[in-house]
Amino acid sequence: MKSHLIILFLGLSLLSNHGFGQNFVLNGQLQDSLSKEPLAFASIYNATLKTGTQSSIDGTFRLPLVLGANQIHINHVGCDTKYIILNIRHSIDTLIKMAHHQHELDNVTITADKNKLMSMENNSVKKDDIMLSLAKPIALVMDNLAGVNSLKTGYTIAKPMIQGMHGSRVGVLNQGLKQEGQQWGQDHGLEIDPFNTAQIMLIKGAETLRYTGDAIGGLVLVEQIYNNTDSLTRTLTSALSSNGQQGHIGASVEKKITKNLGCRLQASLKKSGNLNTPTYFLPNTGFEEQNANFEVRWKKSKHSQFEFSSSIFNTKVGILATSHIGNLSDLIKIINQDTLYPKGNFTYQINKPNQNITHSLFKIKWKYEVSTSLSFEATYGMQLNRRKEYDITRLSTTNTPSLFFSLNTQNLDFMLSKKIHHSFLIKTGISANYQTNIYTGRFFIPNYSKTELHHFSLLRYKKDRNEFEFGYHYTSIKLLAYKWVNATTVLHPFHFDGFSWQGGWHYKISHDWQAAIQIGKVWRNPNINEQFSEGLHHGAAAIEYGNLHLKSEKALSISGLLKYRHNKTLLEIEFYGKQINNYIYLKPKFPPELTIRGAFPAFEYVQTNALFTGIDLLVEQVLPYNFLVSEKLSILNVYDKSDITFINNIPPYTFNHSISYKLSKLKKLSNTSLRLTAQHVLKQTRYTDGTDYLAPPNGYVLINASFITNFLRYKNLHVFLSADNILNTRYRNYLNRFRYFSDDLGRQLTAGFNLKF
């Protein structure tokens, strides 16, 4: 999607320095035409003079000009670079209005982007890439982000992993609320619909402390679509995918009822049958999804704005039938067989085992601008997560779920934001959360109630080429867990509190070079599953033991970022190191336990000191004839410092080579882009023998291609085609837990369109 951001030059004046005749100055201000908010930290570059500047917090900038034609580039994150040619002959005082490239972003992004220490190209997934991945689960869309992998259980159940961290070490913000429900086990996916997603962004460093104090890995911000246009906007989107014979359809209507009151309604339906690997069908891997979203935005006055969102996500996901196993010898037998037995065939029917999840979200947000420099925000959010797990049961007629969780979360958040002298920005706030969990069925997590109190502050200071940020977040958690033992309730009370801080320094070395360094100390309390889980994990044929005596994790992290952008070249590199004390992970227990079902490997949650070090790299080069080559690289090494062993489930080295070809006009097509990608994943060699049932799989290369275009005559119709795993390569993904049981997916061809009318 093209963004909809209009940049205005307000109070723009061209002043000449009399006497020199060659030196002029452009004093301007950048403003978002919709929200009227100033656009800070945009880069404005005069290519003729080879000098540039950045807009300050209030959007103002000062750019030198020369006599004659001046080619000016304006670049702001979240929108495409704008090129303007200004002809300067003599001094003029004028006001120029410029319509920036069409773009459908709302101000959430802009606010978040503005607050990032350094804008990295690789830190967001834009509309075109989201459109190309519409038929995939949202965590797989996030794979496009630097250093982000998805940790999967099969294909549909996936959650993001940032620089090797997952679960509650990674926060996901959906519609401005921290998504609740995905933090527990690996087979708890992310309940968010990509059809209603405008942009996905990665946030690391101090800004994460605005939302949470425990995101050691970082935050992923998922932003919903809201066009904020005056006219009625309707869209129809559909995609068909060959693997699983999937059909996806979505529609939305957006309308401004009055000038200040707008609403948007969106819904989508998805259905897939059994998926297939290059050589066989995977039994019971179909899924279906029904989602809806309703959003109202009301501008009560010039200074007061309300946002109301409500959404429901409902899914039923089949779980690979053969992954439901009885004991260690069943598992070993499956591991040793070359193909899957029994082989599946194609059907849309979803049998047991399966998961049936409903996630509803309600949010109301009020933003009040006390003055131009002081604003206030209040948010109330509620999330209801109902999760039913159906195991294979002895009696085929059983219709009650084996396990039913009902997780309710409510939160209230207040924030003040204050600008001082254009160079200081302070945000401070408090929030409170209340969460309860109730289960029925077999034990995995006890019932609990959790009360959290948070306080945070962020400070940002900009001076010349330097920009500093510092933030802290204080959290106090009271957890009451009720465990039933022999039909009586045993109360386990816990209290955790802690203080996290992060700081950063951004330095603009020259127009082309920027550098930033970030340092921080973040803590995380043990999760309820790490404390309490006890018993059998069906898919993994493992007995898991929680540990009531776990201490909080404390992570010290340092990262360095370097960015170079010159004409047709882009280079971004991030080095990071995280030392995590009391790092919690599942460790095998020896010998295997003898049970009524035979031998079972047992695992327990233990703590160690772990060291994460890695590099994420992006290089892009524009070549002649509209070609663009891009190279992405992610390298991560993790050591268990106490045990001198490696830690499992860490992403292997990954390279992404891609070449794209872009044409703005081709016969009857416009904005056509064709991309060919080779995703090269190496074997994870940092593995200690005997710590997993199956050693990490071999490396592989997947070839993917995508094509997106729109028609000159129907500008509102976008057509996209994509092909994943074109060569139908047989492979197993180390980060997919079902690698024990089957190959990963074979070729997948997707075709779809997006129509606006």
């Binding site: 010898s329 037998k333 029994p342 002895r394 109730i438 029925t440 022999n486 007995i543 009524i596």
Partner: protein
Amino acid sequence: MNKQFLLKTLTYLSCFAAIAYAISGCTDPSILPVQTNDKELITTIKIDLSDTLTGKKLNYFFRDLDGIGGKAPSQWDTITLEDSSYYRMNLKILNESNANAVEDITQEIYVERANHIICYTPLTVNAIINRTDTDGTYPLGLAATWKTGSNSLGEITITLKHQPGLKNGGCNAGETDIEIKFWTVIK
């Protein structure tokens, strides 16, 4: 900001919160719900043997009352049999995790006999075990005859497989619900 507006907003917000709370259900996590047990749990298997000649009855147990994990099995008998004898066997499968409500799972397996099979595998024990019940096509294994030979020592493995749609008479396919090795002495 005027005071009236603030008050009005707060009223709306608190109404909204109240409705939200009502929707979310005012359930208390400390209250014991109806069902918190694992319907699939098997804690006990009981081997009933009766000597066809003498009528002597023998019972052997495996018991792990807290299920998989946790405490070690509380009872794991060694099977002792007479040499050159002929026994009728019945297998009982139970969930005894709640002493006040013991569940007999044998019946469930019988109802689902088309999807279950029990296999008996003697190792270095001179015993021949023949299943005497069937699902109509394939053996089931809740009832069998045990024929012992000369004095010997070894183990008998009893396996219960859940084979939904996979049953082919063998014990290879499907999910293992029970797999226990009993020490066996014939004297």
